[in-house]
């Protein structure tokens, strides 16, 4: 059962208090290192790996930005284990993507202490820099978000965040709770024994949790799910055929940024950069002949569709694909709508559990009989 502790903070103290918490963890040997979003010397906030408590001062986990989905960073840190225990502060979509990478054997949770923060969304990277220039603070953002207002001057959180039905991170050891906590208050929730042990070592005393949190989380999730359904419905309405899909992707330049940004695009080498797709000049001419016109670069829809077949079962909806597109193509709904169908078909939910086998890694002779419709 979850245990809680309350951290009350005065204006401007949230990050100091969090730095203190992680400093206590390092000092008392609860973990050997901390991976958390930290303010960079000039601008921006990036995930930063720290091994000594002196270097935790610039911690800023609630900064409304997620430059990369950290599941990939955790994969680099853990796929060949360092033997060091690392506390990692992650958002819900990062944890859920990480769960999928663990099942793909591209990450390992053995030495990790996963700390999930309640997520109110992130700004696009360039918007966040504007936010910083205008002296925006994480506390200010949190205060607004808890009152249902995430927008700043002329920009709002990413489209993916507005329709994310998982404000609370699942499968973590500790949660940083802000939803339902009230202004100027943060609750730490020890979700697992591992989390409780780490917090105890850091000198935490447990007490009552925030009353009404469960309801507040449920309410927020429901509102976002409703927004999600509306986005999905309008996407499906707009793109009922391949021509509409082609139109959506017409500005795609095959830069493959979306797959680089995608935390669950798991191939070590993407087939689209191999010789399979290095066609001869004659081939292009033949295509132009048979199709009448040949948009170049070619294989754009093919690439995105292939990506769907690879990741539909694992997509967690983090929206990094859309954020990474240099031509502002909103690709996220392409992946999320297919992911919803595919995951429903296999009664699977990306990020739900480390123990649930991934849909295409298992099979059974007595299943999906409707596919062939044949009975012997």
């Amino acid at each position: 059962m979850s245990k809680f502790t309350k951290i009350a903070f005065n204006k401007g103290e949230l990050n100091t208090q969090l730095s203190q918490l992680f400093s206590d963890m390092l000092e008392n040997n609860a973990v050997d290192a901390v991976l958390a979003p930290m303010a960079q010397p000039k601008k921006g906030v990036m995930q930063t790996l720290v091994t000594s408590k002196e270097n935790l001062a610039s911690m800023d986990p609630f900064a409304p930005v997620m430059p990369v989905n950290s599941a990939k960073l955790v994969s680099s840190l853990t796929s060949t284990p360092s033997g060091k225990r690392i506390a990692m502060v992650l958002r819900s979509c990062e944890v859920r993507a990480l769960v999928e990478l663990v099942k793909l054997k591209q990450a390992n949770l053995e030495d990790t202490l996963l700390i999930g923060m309640d997520c109110h969304g992130r700004y696009e990277n360039t918007d966040f820099l504007k936010f910083q220039t205008k002296e925006g603070t994480s506390e200010g953002f949190l205060e607004g978000a808890l009152n249902g207002k995430t927008e700043s001057d002329g920009f709002d959180v990413a489209g993916a965040c507005k329709i994310c039905e998982y404000p609370e991170a699942p499968n973590v050891d500790i949660r940083l709770c802000t939803i339902g906590s009230g202004n100027g208050t943060l609750y730490l929730e020890a979700v697992t024994e591992k989390g409780e042990e780490a917090l105890t070592k850091a000198g935490t005393k447990f007490a009552d949790g925030p009353g009404g949190r469960a309801d507040a989380v449920k309410k927020l999730a429901a509102a976002r799910a409703e927004a999600r359904d509306a986005v999905f419905a309008s996407y499906r309405e707009e793109t009922g055929d391949f021509n509409a899909l082609d139109d959506k992707l017409s500005a795609c330049i095959n830069c493959y940024n979306c797959r680089v940004a995608c935390p669950v695009c798991y191939c070590k080498e993407c087939v689209f950069v191999t010789d399979t797709f290095r066609h001869k000049g004659e081939q292009f001419i033949n295509w132009a002949n048979s199709k009448g016109t040949l948009k170049m670069p070619t294989d754009t829809s093919f690439y995105h569709l292939t990506r769907i077949t690879h990741i539909a079962a694992f997509c967690v909806g983090c929206g990094q694909c859309t954020s990474a597109c240099p031509n502002d193509i909103d690709v996220m709904p392409i992946f999320r709508t297919s992911a919803e169908k595919v995951q429903a078909r296999f009664e699977y939910l990306a990020g739900r559990s480390v123990d649930e086998p991934q849909p295409l890694s298992v099979f059974d002779s007595d299943e999906l009989m409707e596919v062939t419709g044949q009975v012997k």
Partner: protein, 142 residues
């Protein structure tokens, strides 16, 4: 104008469905030439990309033929194929390629008659449905 003749790209497993097609031939059963056979070692090696590529290049239908569950030469390749077809169906349906155009059928080496029946049935179904929305040549003729 001549009747629309659907193009059906067919991936047949070497051990069962391709052998069935061979049997249909040696038994002098005639099946529609709309079925364009690509012989693969196992239905389990039909990468979803092959199916996507076929449709993107204007195939009106794709037929994958494999061994019955339990009979796969490689033990369970056919079961993997079935999961992939289920996935593809979910994805393609959104873009106007419904399950009527992507078929997976179990046809054993001895079932030459069934091969003929499936080929007839699928060809008839696709004639009824008309050309795939991605079939540019058929659109030009019409």
């Amino acid at each position: 104008m001549s009747e629309f003749e659907p193009k059906i790209v067919s991936f047949f497993c070497n051990w069962c469905t391709f052998t069935a097609a061979d049997l249909a031939g040696t038994s002098r059963l005639s099946y529609p030439p709309n079925i364009k056979i690509i012989r693969v070692m196992c239905s389990g090696m039909v990468d979803p990309k092959y199916v996507l590529k076929a449709f993107l290049n204007g195939a009106d239908g794709v037929l994958i033929g494999g061994c019955w569950p339990g009979d796969c030469h490689y033990i369970n390749g056919n079961l993997k194929a079935r999961r992939r077809v289920a996935l593809l169906t979910e994805l393609l349906s959104q873009y106007g390629i419904g399950p009527d155009r992507l078929w997976l059928r179990w046809i054993a080496a001895s079932e030459g008659t069934m091969l003929k029946e499936v080929a007839d049935e699928m060809t008839a179904k696709l004639k009824e449905l008309g050309p795939s929305p991605l079939n540019k040549t058929a659109a030009k003729v019409a």
